[in-house]
Amino acid sequence: MSRQSRRIRVRRHAPGLCILVIGVALSASGQTPQRGAGQGAPAAAAADGGGRGAPAAPAKPTPRKPDGKPALGTMPGEVALWLPAGGGGERFVNADTADPSPDKLRMSEVPMQPWARALLDDRIANQLEPHTRCKPSGGPRQFLTPYGVEILEMPELKQILIFDLGGPHTYRAIYMDGRQHPPDLQPSYYGHSVGRWEGDTLVIDTVGFNEKFWMDRQGTPHTDRLRMTEKLTRTDYNTIKYEVTIDDSGAYTRPWTSGFNLRWVANSELFEYVCQDNNYAPDLMVGTQEFVDRTSKIVP
């Protein structure tokens, strides 16, 4: 087992993260590889100098496409994924015990409405994240799984596609054709995303979220009023700076911004990971065959 994947496993099994879900095997949840973690994360770990603690090689400059824009995906012939810079434990909002950071708020600095703060406390105490029940996860959470994402730019389609490896084997589309958000959106996990370039930064504007996922593993709350502005800047070959402004008058007293970095992991590619494959809590996941059942605890 690689060092990286061992670290991920340790993290997932750390007491604070372990949730007793109706007494079933903890490791069955969400993004934890069942069939050989050593097989699951390996490319990620092996590539590119890997995890924290590895000596940092000087990064090459940002690669650019023929149109001069930074490449967020791979150039022809390249194979790579983007992983959270801090691995599976990377955070969107730091704990209050963390050192101050210019790019990342601490939890107490997030301008939560009192109900949202109370909900966050409850989530931290109970840890029943929808991601662990194989729900897709929107916004920052998509970039915060230990297996990372592939960003695929498809100028042919005028779309950028983001494949998240963890979760239910799905993807998110960002429309780059100048379209507007449609009226009467059916709220969804990934929302409706339109993107544009501002200089070297991809700016993604997303609305139409449902309230069925968490924006991060800690459970930072949101409502269906959420408007998310994500800014992705590839600052050098190995790094994307990921910054998000959360504008949600349902849960916060004002918009706020936080973020983290993504790390380029070369020679690592998409593979088939299906969260439901070995989920030992199918009843919790699907509510049994009678799927109008509302008896199990639901954390919105």
């Binding site: 150039m75 029940r133 498809m154 596609l161 996990y189 088939e272 299906v274």
Partner: protein
């Protein structure tokens, strides 16, 4: 039931008359009994506007006799296409529902008709399938056919001309989920080994209720991907010599086909210890046909509508030919010495659904 086989036939016949579920996520008759019709009048208490099935909850009766019923309807995708919205009904609205009752005796009903304010709502008209050929096959600059939309357009493939995986040359009638119109056709469907024939028969007699795609939202590997109600979209990533196949339904999954000349062993995390839902697929163009060779399947899913069994020995050769702008010809050869007595073939056409995005459907949307 006094005569199970006859009963089933009658029930299926009744089902095909009573309801024409368009693209239900599960076989309706698996959960509801077409023989038990009911009529409910009451007041809406809640509308759960979510895939895979919208539910309207209603109070029926008065005072201490009030009970709450769940009325199951088509998906958000279908209802929105028919111009219904999450606020078409609101709590407090009086409604009348005619439908069929859940087999398990719970207070659930499949809504055949819903009437509010004297007007029928939530009826999803059957789409007319126009299989007229389109214009010439769109092509890439290198003259290869384009399997997806051209730049600036949208579209995807759906409405398979056959809804069950049956051997070429047979004439098997089945509903949209692959439930046989005539259970006596079981032996004609494919050259089954005995155990596989019996398992297929059992799955059919259970009205497909054990379908892992329905129960656990597991991906539809193999030919089933091309029989899904919400279709498929091809994304050809020429820069990296691979093709993604997105599926509109289930969990909006993706399948990868590699055209970069790699071998099947040890790729995309699939090996003998880690068989996959979509298997390990490598493709190449033979003239205007994309030929895809796939091995390395697991046994945790149904690889076809209707529940034909397969084993981890399954080896598929699929051929995709866009014969004109509106038609994708799908041919598949099934080689599974674990479940069948010989190699056999099937195939059908898919229709281009132009100017529409692939439906954004998540099977788990209304589950906790």
């Amino acid at each position: 039931m006094r005569h199970p086989v006859l009963g089933l036939v009658v029930m299926i016949a009744a089902a095909s008359l009573l309801l024409l579920p368009l693209s239900a996520h599960h076989e309706i008759t698996a959960k509801f009994d077409p023989a038990k019709t009911t009529r409910l009048q009451g007041i809406v208490t809640y509308v759960d506007w979510a895939n895979p099935h919208v539910h309207v909850f209603m109070n029926v009766g008065t005072g201490n006799n009030t009970v709450n019923w769940a009325v199951e309807l088509e998906s958000v995708v279908d209802l929105q296409k028919a111009n219904y919205r999450r606020d078409t009904l609101k709590p407090g609205d009086p409604i009348t529902v005619e439908g069929i009752l859940a087999r398990d005796g719970s207070r659930q009903v499949w809504g055949n008709t819903v009437t509010a304010g004297g007007r029928r709502i939530f009826n999803v008209p059957e789409e007319t399938v126009n299989r007229a050929p389109g214009g010439p096959t769109p092509r890439w600059p290198d003259n290869k056919p384009r399997l997806g939309p051209t730049t600036g357009s949208t579209g995807y493939w759906a409405r398979p001309s056959m809804t069950i995986l049956a051997e070429s040359g047979t004439n098997i009638r089945a509903n949209k989920n692959g439930l046989l119109a005539n259970i006596a056709d079981v032996d004609k469907v494919a050259p089954f080994q005995r155990w596989a024939r019996d398992l297929f028969d059992l799955r059919q007699r259970n009205r497909l209720a054990d379908d892992p795609q329905y129960l656990y939202c597991l991906p539809p590997g193999g030919p089933r991907q091309y029989q899904e109600a919400y279709g498929v979209q091809f994304v050809e990533d020429k820069d990296h010599q691979r093709i993604f196949v997105f599926v509109g339904g289930v969990n909006h999954n993706w399948r990868l086909i590699y055209l970069d000349g790699r071998q099947q062993v040890g790729q995309i995390r699939g090996d003998a210890d880690n068989p996959l839902y979509y298997g390990r697929s490598v493709g190449k163009w033979e003239g205007d046909t994309l030929v895809v060779d796939t091995k390395g399947f697991n046994e945790k899913f149904w690889f076809s509508n209707g529940g034909l069994p397969h084993t981890d020995k399954l080896h598929l050769v699929e051929r995709f030919t866009r014969t004109d702008a509106n038609t994708l010809k799908y041919e598949v050869t099934i080689d599974d010495p674990g479940a069948y007595t010989r190699t056999w073939s099937s195939g059908w056409n898919l229709q281009w659904i132009g100017d529409q995005e692939l439906p954004n459907f998540f099977c788990q949307d209304n589950r906790p």
